[in-house]
């Protein structure tokens, strides 16, 4: 495997990323006047989860990147300002957790709106984007580059950051992540926090040994997030262990994207083009996925 050039001799870089996804997630399922009962796990995110996670990051003195849906930012501008005041990065995630694979012509408008909402609140335009649900269209990366975004953090196909060349001077840094270090799928499968700890220890040790990116994805929510008291304790343990690993550097996504651009890496081709022709004549069989009995 080719070694990757991390900043100033770091052995591995950790990205602490948080998908803010508060009421916006519940509003995919119900109306604004029905955010009660089962649809109040998002309110947990802002009432209980947010202060707890922020206190943990402050205790460890670590910077994180928060991907904040525009509608959640509008509902909670004070929290967004608090993030910025604490040195965390704020990045874009659409407005209402839209599915970008099916947004069509509205994509640009949604991206522009989400960018404007965050810029109005913090005074700084977001540099990066992570697609809700991990869904992108063939045009999303190009729109991001056109609108002045520097990075995307949605793909799950590499051990290190890389750069997409999108024609002409357009390019976008990709900061790939992995479901193996995402609390969402693990807690959504109703696993214990002990099991998450076991998985993440295995993942982090091996990634550190190989000097890859260590991209951690957290959620604030009370259902599939990491902010319940027992889950925060697991996270506390993991962050303590992470900091003890040799040569580990914690960065925000924007800092890392800036570093990646400074490397002047050869670009990777648009990830859709090689498959466009085949996809145009292939029927949708997404429901073929093997499911448990």
């Amino acid at each position: 495997m080719k070694p990757y050039t991390w900043p100033q001799g770091a052995r591995a870089v950790v990205l602490l990323t948080v998908n803010f996804d508060a009421e916006s997630f519940d509003l995919k399922e119900t109306a604004p006047d029905r955010l009660f009962g089962r649809y109040s796990y998002g309110r947990y995110a802002v009432r209980a989860g947010f202060p707890r996670l922020l206190a943990l990051f402050a205790k460890h003195g670590l910077p994180a990147t928060f991907f904040v849906p525009g509608a959640d930012a509008r509902r909670h501008p004070d929290l967004v300002r608090e993030l910025a005041a604490n040195g965390h990065e704020i990045a874009a995630r659409g407005v209402d957790l839209e599915n970008f694979a099916t947004l069509g012509d509205k994509e640009t408008e949604v991206l522009e709106t989400s960018r404007a909402i965050l810029a109005d609140i913090t005074g700084t335009a977001p540099m990066g984007f992570r697609a809700p649900g991990g869904e992108l269209s063939s045009r999303t990366l190009g729109h991001l580059a056109d609108l002045g975004f520097i990075y995307d953090a949605t793909f799950q196909d590499a051990d290190h950051p890389y750069v997409y060349g999108l024609g002409g001077e357009r390019k976008i840094v990709e900061l790939p992540s992995t479901f193996a270090l995402d609390d969402g799928p693990i807690y959504a499968a109703r696993h214990t926090h002990a099991r998450l700890l076991a998985i993440w220890r295995d993942e982090i040790q091996a990634m550190h040994a190989e000097g890859t990116l260590i991209p951690i994805t957290l959620h604030l929510r009370g259902d599939f997030g990491s902010t319940r008291a027992a889950r925060i304790a697991i996270l506390d343990t993991l962050l303590t262990e992470l900091k003890q690993l040799a040569g580990v550097r914690f960065m925000t996504c924007g800092q890392l994207a800036g570093h990646v651009l400074s490397l002047n890496l050869p670009t990777e081709p648009d990830p859709y083009l090689a498959h466009a022709e085949t996809l145009a004549k292939t029927v949708y069989r997404g429901d073929l996925a093997v499911r448990p009995l």
Partner: protein, 276 residues
């Protein structure tokens, strides 16, 4: 003729490491653009296949890559590298077809992938593993007509056997049965989110149960991210497992084609089962 398959005394366990390449074909074949969270297949050529080759080379053992034709078209350099490093290139569908095909379409795609792989590596392809495990009553005849000597798709036995698919004298192919429940990475990493260290324990126990008994350990692994084993933690436990196996006497790591050739040369050791 139909005695149980037996191994010579010194062959305490044959280990066949099969790696199903499963690049973007897996998503594209289902009409899904390999973007965002659907990009796991792109990890195969970029990271997983090189990491698996390095790991196997560090142990000095062989393995077989089962490759969809579509992925080979898009990553010919990677396929060449697999072959040049001494690993076997075998077939695994064109677009990782995980659905029923008509007889004519099935044959067309089997021949298409065979041609693609043969053109890239410049040597005949000798084996096939079904993507998703589907096959028809015609599949074996088509493989045989292309010169294939083995199939590794059936789930019906713990040992290799001679699969008779027709009445003719040569209507026989070596079957190297696999299973996608316990000797496959995907169930653990897709369904149960089992920690890699726990998967290692599981596979050691599987090996212990097979060693010296059925003596035949057939792996179905994937170099992609997501539910595959291409990532650092999961490749590490594969390496640990191989080290564990190597600590046992009489374990033979082979690529599928070499073991299929052994089966052809020791036909009296193999049970013959007729589906003709």
């Amino acid at each position: 003729m139909s005695q149980r398959t037996t191994f010579p005394e010194d062959m305490r366990c044959v280990v066949l490491i099969g790696i199903d390449f499963d690049g973007p074909s897996h998503e594209v074949g289902r009409g899904i653009a390999p973007l965002g969270k659907h990009s796991w297949g792109s990890y195969s050529a970029r990271c997983g296949v090189p990491r698996h080759m390095d790991m196997l080379a560090s142990h000095g053992i062989k393995g077989t890559f089962f490759i969809p034709g579509y992925d080979a078209e898009r990553h010919p350099r990677t396929i060449e590298q697999i072959d040049r490093n001494g690993f076997e290139v075998a077939a695994h569908g064109y677009l990782h077809e995980a659905w029923e095909l008509g007889a004519e379409e099935e044959e067309t795609l089997l021949r298409k992938t065979d041609r693609i792989l043969r053109d890239v590596v410049g040597k005949p392809v000798l084996g096939w593993r079904s993507p998703s495990g589907r096959k028809s009553d015609r599949t074996m005849a088509v493989l045989k007509s292309m010169g294939y000597v083995y199939d590794s798709s059936d789930k019906d036995y713990d040992r290799p056997y001679r699969l008779r698919f027709g009445k003719g004298r040569d209507d026989v192919i070596v079957e190297l049965p696999n299973n996608t429940y316990s000797l496959d990475d995907f169930p653990f990493y897709k369904f149960s989110y089992t920690p890699p260290s726990e998967v290692l324990g599981q596979w050691k126990a599987e090996f212990d149960a097979i060693y010296g008994v059925d003596r035949f350990f057939v792996f179905s692994l994937h170099p992609r991210s997501g539910w595959g084993s291409g990532t650092p933690s999961r490749t590490r436990i594969l390496s640990d497992l191989i080290a564990y196996m190597k600590g046992h006497d009489g374990v033979q790591f082979m690529d599928y084609r070499s073991f299929a050739q052994w089966c052809l040369q020791h036909r009296d050791n193999l049970e013959e089962v007729s589906f003709a």
